[in-house]
Amino acid sequence: MVDYGEETPSVSAEQGVEEATVETQAAEVIGESAFEFYKTAEGEEVLEDEDELVWRQCAPGHFDTSTGKPTLDLFRPNEADSGMMSGSRKSKTTAERAYKHRVEVDQKLSKGTWAVSVAEVDKVDARVVDDSANLKPPPAPPPGHVFIDVRHLKDLDKRERLRFRSTLLIFANKRGRQFPAP
């Protein structure tokens, strides 16, 4: 089983921000459980524009070349994410620049840029947070860096995790690969 985050609410030490604490907000419901978002750190901005797109890079292991489709793990937070899945925002960078940053600056492989909107992220009871003001080089941070905040969803069961990832994957697939062109 894969957890969405650590037991103790925290943010990456690399981001150089203070430890986060749980913030009580009006809770919506996913599955049977109410949830609470973590408190944002100073300098972080929760995106409100529902049409804003979040670029997400697809690792080679998350792509089947024969069908041209990504897997639901495109929206699985990895261990290093600590419940904050990295991406970048359309209003501050392009799908192409986000891809090139991943490949040329981060020196990691990518099968392309996919996208989900802030409204779609909201549908799975998550949110998008711009933390670009808190990222300092080296390495050079991606322009318009954001994260899909799922720290509060760490206790989802297997079915709920599948629902979360599948939902975002369907939205991303419908929009199609943003760069390179399919």
Partner: protein, 373 residues
């Protein structure tokens, strides 16, 4: 300054900058890099000469002297070592009179590749690889070497790039215990064999246990009749590309599928994933879920259920996914051959989840109405 016969920058166009190199004079630690640079040029010259004389067993006499460099001056104001030919060397290699220039160009090109791709050139000889690894070993974080420094396209090799290169080289050859799927093309009693991987690339193999010979002999016969076989083995793979270069030992072997099976190439790809295939996460996928997935996929072919995407999951299982603009259907199998199915349709709101299914036919039945046609 040098005498009147010396060009301003000498024959080799290299300079160092940053940190200690931004002060007047040349730091004595840097002399070591100049020595390494000369060794690189000499080894490049040997490569160029042997490439031109593939049947030769040894170099011409005094070969090294013809491409040796000499530091004649360090220009004031910036640390530019002026490197020239040995002044008293009249002899040149007859059929490659410009060998020194070609050798310097090869070294420049090699560093251009290193800087742009963080990898060594494919044709770089091992004798140069070891020197490249040491070049810049005394640098501080802000120091660098600039090749072709006076050209329009200088190549800057920094402390950070060197660190990345060393990390990449360290990760390059990884010993993996895993499953390979392919064919055996040759098997002999000296415990050596040749294995063709999913892309028909030949890989030299060896096994230590005598009893493995009989198993391999059996699957060898299958291979000759175009069947794919699996090997549980220890192999050497490039950590970045995943390409297998050598099979060091074999522990088990068996039949996998006909080579014409449309699902076999993708499953063979997943079987060869090393541990940590997803940015350090990701278990290897062994033959149990691979075989179970193949059984499901063959049934999918038989029933015309369309083409799913196939993935490894981080826990070492295999997942088949059917994705449309409104729905997503998942059929996964774990290391214990237990199946899980999931279906979500955003348009209708329909959701279906079943876990711990023991029989693959039942698993397919659980999702068949979502993927039919």
């Amino acid at each position: 300054m040098t005498d009147g016969e010396t060009e301003a920058r000498g024959i080799a166009d290299i300079r160092f900058s940053g940190g200690r190199y931004d002060k007047i004079g040349f730091p004595l630690d840097g002399i070591d890099d100049l020595h390494k640079y000369q060794r690189l040029v000499i080894e490049a010259a040997k490569k160029i000469w042997y490439d031109k004389h593939p049947k030769a067993h040894r170099l011409p006499s005094n070969f090294n002297e013809t491409v040796r460099l000499r530091l004649t001056v360090v220009e004031k104001g910036s640390v530019v070592p002026v490197l020239e030919r040995e002044p008293d060397v009249q002899q040149r290699i007859k059929d490659i009179p410009d060998l020194l220039d070609l050798s310097i160009a090869y070294v420049d090109d090699a560093f251009a590749t290193i800087v742009s791709k963080v990898e060594l050139p494919d044709d770089m000889p091992e004798s140069m690889t070891s020197i490249v690894k040491l070049f810049g070993g005394y640098w501080q974080e802000n120091e660098r070497a600039v090749f072709r420094s006076s050209s329009a396209e200088p190549v800057t090799y920094t402390f950070a790039r060197r660190k990345e290169l060393l990390a990449a080289l360290a990760a390059e050859n990884q010993e993996v215990r895993g499953t390979l799927i392919g064919k055996i093309r040759m098997l002999d009693s000296t415990k050596e064999f040749i294995f063709l991987d999913g892309k028909e690339r030949p890989i030299n193999g060896h096994f230590s246990e005598g009893s493995i010979f009989d198993e391999l002999h059996e699957v060898h016969k299958l291979s000759e009749s175009a069947d794919l076989i699996w090997l549980e083995c220890k192999f050497i793979a490039n950590a970045l590309s995943g390409e297998v270069s050598k099979i060091e030992d074999v522990y088990d072997a068996g039949q996998f599928a006909l080579s014409s099976n449309p699902w076999a190439p993708r499953l063979a790809e997943l079987a060869a994933y090393p541990k940590g295939w997803l940015d350090g996460e990701g278990d290897r996928v062994d033959i149990v879920p691979i075989s179970a997935a193949l059984a499901v996929l063959d049934l999918i072919t038989e029933r015309g259920y369309g083409t799913p995407s196939i993935f490894a999951d981080v826990e070492g299982g295999v997942r088949m996914e059917w994705l449309t603009d409104v729905s997503h259907t998942v059929l996964s199998v774990d290391n214990d051959s237990l199946f899980t199915t999931y279906h979500l349709n955003l348009e209708t709101g329909e959701e279906d989840y079943v876990e711990k299914i023991k029989v693959y036919r039942d698993a397919l039945k659980a999702v068949s109405r979502y993927i039919h046609g």
